[in-house]
């Protein structure tokens, strides 16, 4: 297996660079297979396991060089990085569309909360109405 830390560093760099997830995963998987092939070839030619690993690492290239080669290809970026203006418009349109629907979405499926809220409003109305009635009666009596 190749150096896990180097691969994780490469994954992070590609993700931060906006490379589409599918290409990040495929690059790492194909590099791992390639490393295995290089290591096997070195072992078959008589290298020790440590020498084979070092040779495979050297032939595959450093994570920095590979990352630069991937990041230099805009066609491998995810669509929101390739067309940032379009992405911004889509996000804004989605936000504008969703905002008015949020209160409806919030109460949907919360029938207990709505019942309690309705009950509380009803109780408040009865209480206020009763107080008004008492006040009216007291005024009339005086």
């Amino acid at each position: 297996m190749p150096d896990r830390a180097q691969f994780e560093a490469l994954r992070l760099e590609l993700q931060r660079g906006g490379i589409a997830k599918v290409y990040v995963e495929r690059t790492l998987r194909e590099l791992a297979d390639h490393f295995d092939d290089l290591e096997r070839a070195a072992l078959a030619s008589g290298s020790s396991s440590e020498e084979a690993r070092q040779l495979a690492h050297a032939q595959l290239g450093s994570a920095r060089v590979i990352a630069s080669a991937v990041l230099a290809r805009p066609e491998l970026r995810c669509w929101s990085r390739r067309w940032p203006t379009v992405a911004l418009c889509v996000r804004s349109a989605a936000a504008i569309g969703v905002l008015p629907a949020l209160p409806v979405l919030y109460v949907a499926g919360r029938s207990d909360d709505i019942a309690r809220w309705g009950g509380a409003i009803g109780a408040a109305l009865v209480l206020v109405g009763s107080l008004y009635s008492v006040l009216d009666w007291m005024i009339m009596v005086e």
């Binding site: 690059t27 194909e30 297979d33 390639h34 092939d37 290089l38 050297a58 032939q59 595959l60 491998l76």
Partner: protein, 112 residues
Amino acid sequence: MAQTNPPFMTGVPELLVLRMLADREMYGYEIVKSVRLVTAEAIGLGEGVIYPVLHGLEETGALKPKRKSVNGRERVYYSVTAKGRRRLEHLSDEWKRVRNGVNSALGDPEHA
């Protein structure tokens, strides 16, 4: 890192990859080995950087990937599409034009 030829490599990896795959489908490691073999190691592609080249060509529709299980190992084999063949033709013509120009500049009588 394998020795590369950065100043002269613009467009060359694509040309070599498409040329190797024009004959038969291959996976990344095989392509690198073939390039080394046919160029007598004159051109050293950094092995790890073959994948962005392959994925870039795939994204533009020049290559088609196919997952295959061979000897218990899963490989991604690449083959050239019709669009890829047209791209190969274009890159070959471009390369010949540049080569003739350079030869002419160097005083090669055949191209002077």
